[in-house]
C-alpha cells in the first residue's frame, strides 16, 4: 500500500489544526466571559432571593401569603431554609416555635413536595439539601426512600439519610447505632457532632448496646458517652473501666470521666497511672485535672516525671489547677528536683497567666 501525502497539504493541515485549536481557546475565553456574566446575574438574583426569604423566615406571625418559589430558585430555597432551621435549632426558648413556623412555610410553598422528588436526584447538592429538609420537617412520607438511601453505598448520602430518619422517627435510633458501627466509611467527626446533637434519642440504644458489644464496637461507642446524662452513662463507663482490657476503650472511657465524671472517679482513674500506654496516662492526668483534689497530688507528682511530654504537660496543668496560685504550688516547684518537671510547671503557670490576659486556646 502506498499512501502518498503532499507536504504542502500536510503543512496546510498543521496550520489548520493550529488555527482551530487557537480559535477554540479564544472561544473558551469568550465562554468564560459569558459564564461570568451569567454568574453575576445569578448572584444578584440570589442576593435578592436571600434578602426576601430571610425576612419571611423570621416574620412572626407567618404572612398570610407567601411568594411563589420559581423552579430556578428551588435549590436556593432549600439551602436557605436548612440554614434557617440550623439557626433556629441553636436559638433560645422560641426554637421549637421557629422550627414549626419554618415547617409550615415549607408546606405552604410546596417545597416539601419538591424535596420529596429530589431524594432521587442525581445532583448531590439537591439530594442532600432535600434529605436535610425532610429531616427537619419530620413527617413520615419520606421514610421509605430515606431508608433506601441510608443503606446506599455513598457515605455522604447514607449518613445524611440515616440522620434524617432519626430526626423523623426516634425509633430509628436503634438502626442508626447499628449503622454507625458498621459503616466505617462514614466520617467519624460528623458522627461525633451528630451524636452530640441527637444525644437525647441516641443515648438509650448506645448505652444498651455497649456493655455486651465486641471490642471494636465498644471502642467506637465509648467516646459518645460524654454527651449523655451522667447518671446513666457513668455507671456504664465505670463498669467498662473495671472489665475491659482494651487500651483504646480505656482511653475513651477516661475521656468520658474527664468530661462528665464525679470527684470520686479520680480514684478510679488513678489506678491506670502506671499503664504502659502513654495515651492512657495522659487521660489519667486529664481526669485528675478536671476531677482531682489534694489527695491526687501524689499521683500527679509521679506523672510529672513521665517520659512522654504530653503526660508531663497535662500533669503539670492538673497540679497547677489543684494547688492553685500561691504557696502550695511554689512549694511543689521548690521541692522538685527534676529540671524537666520544673520547666513544665513554670511553662504551664506562665501559659495560664497569659491566657487570663487574653483567652485563646492552645
Amino acid at each position: 500500500m502506498d499512501l502518498t501525502i503532499d507536504i504542502n497539504e500536510l503543512i496546510l493541515a498543521t496550520y489548520v489544526l493550529a488555527a482551530g485549536v487557537t480559535a477554540l481557546s479564544v472561544l473558551m475565553i469568550v465562554l468564560v466571559m459569558m459564564m461570568r456574566s451569567a454568574t453575576a446575574r445569578r448572584e444578584r438574583a440570589l442576593r435578592r432571593f436571600e434578602t426576601r426569604w430571610s425576612r419571611l423566615f423570621q416574620e412572626r406571625p407567618q404572612p398570610p401569603s407567601l411568594p411563589r418559589v420559581r423552579p430556578s430558585e428551588e435549590e436556593w430555597f432549600l439551602i436557605a431554609w436548612n440554614a434557617a432551621q440550623e439557626r433556629a435549632a441553636q436559638g433560645g426558648s422560641d426554637a421549637g416555635a421557629d422550627r414549626e413556623r419554618l415547617n409550615d412555610i415549607a408546606r405552604n410553598t410546596g417545597m416539601d413536595e419538591v424535596a420529596l422528588r429530589w431524594l432521587a436526584h442525581r445532583n448531590m447538592t439537591r439530594a442532600l439539601s432535600a434529605i436535610i429538609m425532610l429531616g427537619y420537617i419530620g413527617d413520615g412520607r419520606p421514610v421509605p426512600p430515606l431508608e433506601k438511601l441510608a443503606v446506599s453505598p455513598d457515605p455522604i448520602l447514607s449518613f445524611a439519610a440515616a440522620r434524617a430518619l432519626v430526626q423523623i422517627h426516634p425509633v430509628w435510633a436503634q438502626q442508626f447505632v447499628e449503622l454507625m458501627t458498621e459503616r466505617r466509611d462514614w466520617s467519624r467527626f460528623k458522627l461525633l457532632a451528630s451524636v452530640e446533637e441527637m444525644s437525647d434519642v441516641l443515648e438509650r440504644p448506645i448505652l444498651e448496646k455497649l456493655p455486651d458489644a465486641p471490642t471494636e464496637t465498644q471502642r467506637e461507642l465509648t467516646q459518645y458517652l460524654r454527651f449523655f446524662d451522667p447518671t446513666r452513662s457513668l455507671p456504664v463507663v465505670r463498669d467498662l473501666l473495671k472489665t475491659t482490657p482494651d487500651d483504646m476503650t480505656i482511653t475513651s472511657a477516661l475521656r468520658v470521666l474527664e468530661e462528665i465524671g464525679e470527684r470520686s472517679d479520680a480514684h478510679l482513674a488513678s489506678t491506670f497511672a502506671e499503664n504502659p500506654d502513654w495515651r492512657i496516662r495522659v487521660q489519667v492526668a486529664n481526669v485528675l485535672r478536671a476531677r482531682g483534689g489534694q489527695d491526687d497530688l501524689a499521683v500527679l507528682q509521679t506523672l510529672i516525671h513521665d517520659a512522654q511530654w504530653w503526660v508531663r504537660y497535662r500533669a503539670a496543668q492538673a497540679i497547677a489547677n489543684i494547688a492553685g496560685k500561691g504557696e502550695q504550688l511554689d512549694d511543689i516547684i521548690r521541692r522538685e528536683k527534676d529540671r524537666y518537671a520544673v520547666d513544665i510547671l513554670q511553662e504551664v503557670i506562665a501559659e495560664q497567666a497569659t491566657q487570663q490576659k487574653e483567652p485563646q486556646t492552645t
Binding site: T14, Y15, Q360
Partner: protein, 493 residues
C-alpha cells in the same frame, strides 16, 4: 515533492529534497520529538480531565448544606510551623496574618532559622517574647537551638531561635516543639487566609486515610496589605509576574488538583502544606541536605506509605488560601527556577527506585514518569528541538514551513491549556476579574516567545547543577548526589 521512509515502506511523506531529509536518523528524530509532544499533551489533558471531574464533585460537596462544618469542633488540633530567615521586612505582616487564622484548636510556632537581620528582635517586640522551656520531643537532630520563647501577648504563639540549617532543618525543629498531631508547614514570606486551616482540614475530616493536603497559591506582589490581609489584589503590570500567575494557575487547577484526585501529587507546596505529624516523623522528617524540601517530603511520604503498603491519600484543596510573593526580576526568577529544577532532579534521584517499582501503583507507574517527562526532560526536548532546527538549517534541509507549522501547533495547544485553567477557575473560585482574564490570556500569547525558553534554559542549568553537585547556599553538608543510594523506607520499630 515526495520522499520515502526506508523503514516505513507503506507510507510516504514529502520532504524538501529527496536526499538527506529522508535519512532515517532525521526522520526518527522528528518522530521522536513529535511523539514527546503528543505524550506530554496527553498527560496534560488527562490531568485537566481529572481536575474537571474532581472539581465538579468538590464543588457539589462544598456547596451543599452537608454537615461538614459541624464536624469542625472535633477536628484535630494543628501546629502551624513557620520558618523565617531574614524576613525583617515582612515579618510584621506575616505574624498579623498568622494571628488572624481561626480554628478550634491550634498553635503557631515561628522558627527563626539563624536570621542575621533584625527578624528576632522584631518578633520579640511584636509578641512580647519571654524565654520558655526547651523543645520537648527530640525526634530529629537539628542545628543548635539557641532558645525557645513564649509570647506574653498571644499564648498560642511560640518562637524557636536556632542556628541556620535551612527550611527543612527549621521545620524539623518545629516538629520537635509541636504539641499537636497535625502540622501545617508555612513560609516566612507568605500570607494566609483566616480560614486556611478550616479549609485544608476538610479532606482529613472526610477521609481518615488522608495524610497530607495542599492548596492553591495566589500571587501577592501587587496586593495592598492591611493588617496582614491582602485587601486589594490588582494584576501586576510586570509581565514576569503575569507569566508566573499563569504558571500558578496552570499548576494549581490543571495539574495539582488533577493529580490529587488520582493520589499522584508529587509536590505539596512548602508555603501551604498540612500533614499528619506522625507520618512525617515516621518517614524521617524533612530533608536537610536538599535545596528545597517540599517536593522531597511529598514524594518521600508516597514512597514510605507505598513501600509499607499502608492505605493513604494526599489531597488538594483548590481554594486560594495562601498568598506568596514571586520574583519580579529576571535575576530573582533565574535563581528560583534553577533551584526548583535542582530540587526536582535531586528528589527524582533520591526516589528513583520507586519509578516503575512493584507496588508503587499509579504514583510510581504514572505520576513519577510523567514528572520525568514533563519536568526533567522538557528542557532537553526543547533544546533537542532547537538543535535539530539549527542542524537541519545548516545542512540545508530545513523545512521552514513545516517547522513554523509545528511551532504553531505547540503554541496553540499551550493556549488551549491556559484556556482550560481559566474555565476551571471560572467554575470554582473566580480569582480574577474579566479584565484580568483577558490581560492574562494576552500575556499567555507572549509567554511562548522567550519566557518559556528562558525557563527551559534555567531548568537545564538546574539539572546540570545537581549532577555537578555544587555547594548550595554555603550552609549544608552532604548535598545529595546522583550516585547516592536511593531512599529506602523502614517500618517503624
Amino acid at each position: 515533492m515526495i520522499a520515502h521512509f526506508s523503514w516505513l515502506s507503506t507510507i510516504t511523506i514529502s520532504g524538501i529534497s529527496g536526499g538527506l531529509s529522508t535519512h532515517p536518523v532525521i526522520v526518527s528524530l522528528e518522530l521522536a520529538l513529535l511523539a514527546y509532544f503528543l505524550v506530554v499533551n496527553v498527560i496534560d489533558f488527562v490531568l485537566i480531565g481529572s481536575s474537571m471531574r474532581n472539581l465538579g464533585q468538590f464543588l457539589r460537596l462544598t456547596g451543599t448544606d452537608a454537615p461538614e462544618s459541624i464536624a469542625l469542633p472535633y477536628a484535630m488540633p494543628i501546629s502551624v510551623l513557620v520558618p523565617v530567615h531574614n524576613e525583617g521586612a515582612s515579618i510584621g505582616d506575616v505574624v498579623r496574618s498568622l494571628l488572624r487564622i481561626r480554628y478550634p484548636k491550634h498553635e503557631i510556632i515561628v522558627i527563626n532559622d539563624g536570621s542575621t537581620d533584625d527578624t528576632l528582635d522584631l518578633l520579640k517586640r511584636q509578641l512580647g517574647l519571654i524565654p520558655a522551656g526547651d523543645a520537648q520531643f527530640h525526634s530529629f537532630r537539628t542545628q543548635t537551638i539557641r532558645g525557645v520563647y513564649r509570647s506574653t501577648l498571644h499564648p498560642q504563639i511560640r518562637v524557636i531561635d536556632k542556628e541556620n540549617g535551612g527550611k527543612g532543618d527549621a521545620l524539623n525543629a518545629g516538629i520537635d516543639e509541636a504539641r499537636y498531631p497535625m502540622i501545617f508547614a508555612g513560609d516566612g514570606d507568605s500570607l494566609y487566609a483566616a480560614d486556611v486551616l478550616e479549609k485544608m482540614i476538610q479532606p482529613f475530616l472526610e477521609n481518615s486515610r488522608t495524610v497530607g493536603c495542599g492548596a492553591s497559591l495566589r500571587v501577592l506582589n501587587e496586593a495592598t496589605i492591611v493588617d496582614g490581609v491582602p485587601v486589594r489584589d490588582a494584576l501586576s503590570h510586570n509581565y514576569i509576574v503575569r507569566f508566573q500567575i499563569l504558571e500558578y494557575l496552570r499548576a494549581g487547577l490543571n495539574s495539582r488538583f488533577g493529580w490529587g484526585a488520582l493520589n499522584g501529587m508529587t509536590c505539596v507546596s512548602g508555603a501551604c502544606a498540612l500533614w499528619r505529624k506522625s507520618v512525617v516523623v515516621a518517614a524521617g522528617g524533612y530533608a536537610t541536605n536538599t535545596i528545597w524540601e517540599d517536593m522531597e517530603i511529598t514524594v518521600r511520604v508516597h514512597h514510605y506509605m507505598r513501600t509499607l503498603g499502608l492505605p493513604y491519600r494526599i489531597a488538594f484543596v483548590p481554594e486560594s488560601v495562601c498568598w506568596t510573593r514571586v520574583p519580579e526580576t529576571l535575576g530573582e526568577l533565574a535563581r528560583q527556577r534553577m533551584s526548583w529544577q535542582r530540587h526536582i532532579t535531586e528528589t527524582l534521584s533520591m526516589h528513583r527506585n520507586l519509578v516503575f517499582a512493584r507496588g508503587s501503583g499509579l504514583f510510581g507507574w504514572f505520576a513519577l514518569p510523567a514528572i520525568i517527562l514533563t519536568e526533567l526532560l522538557a528542557p532537553v526536548w526543547l533544546f533537542g528541538g532547537l538543535l535539530f532546527i539549527v542542524a537541519t538549517a545548516l545542512l540545508g534541509i530545513l523545512s521552514v514551513q513545516s517547522q513554523v507549522a509545528l511551532l504553531a501547533v505547540v503554541f496553540s495547544f499551550t493556549l488551549l491549556k491556559v484556556a482550560f485553567s481559566f474555565i476551571l477557575d471560572e467554575v470554582s473560585y473566580r480569582t480574577h476579574s474579566l479584565a484580568e482574564v483577558w490581560m492574562l490570556f494576552w500575556a499567555a500569547l507572549w509567554e511562548q516567545i522567550g519566557y518559556r525558553q528562558f525557563i527551559s534554559v534555567l531548568s537545564l542549568i538546574g539539572t546540570v547543577q545537581f549532577f555537578i553537585a555544587s555547594s548550595i547556599r554555603g550552609q549544608r553538608q552532604g548535598v545529595p548526589k546522583w550516585s547516592d543510594a536511593p531512599y529506602d523506607p523502614k517500618p517503624p520499630a
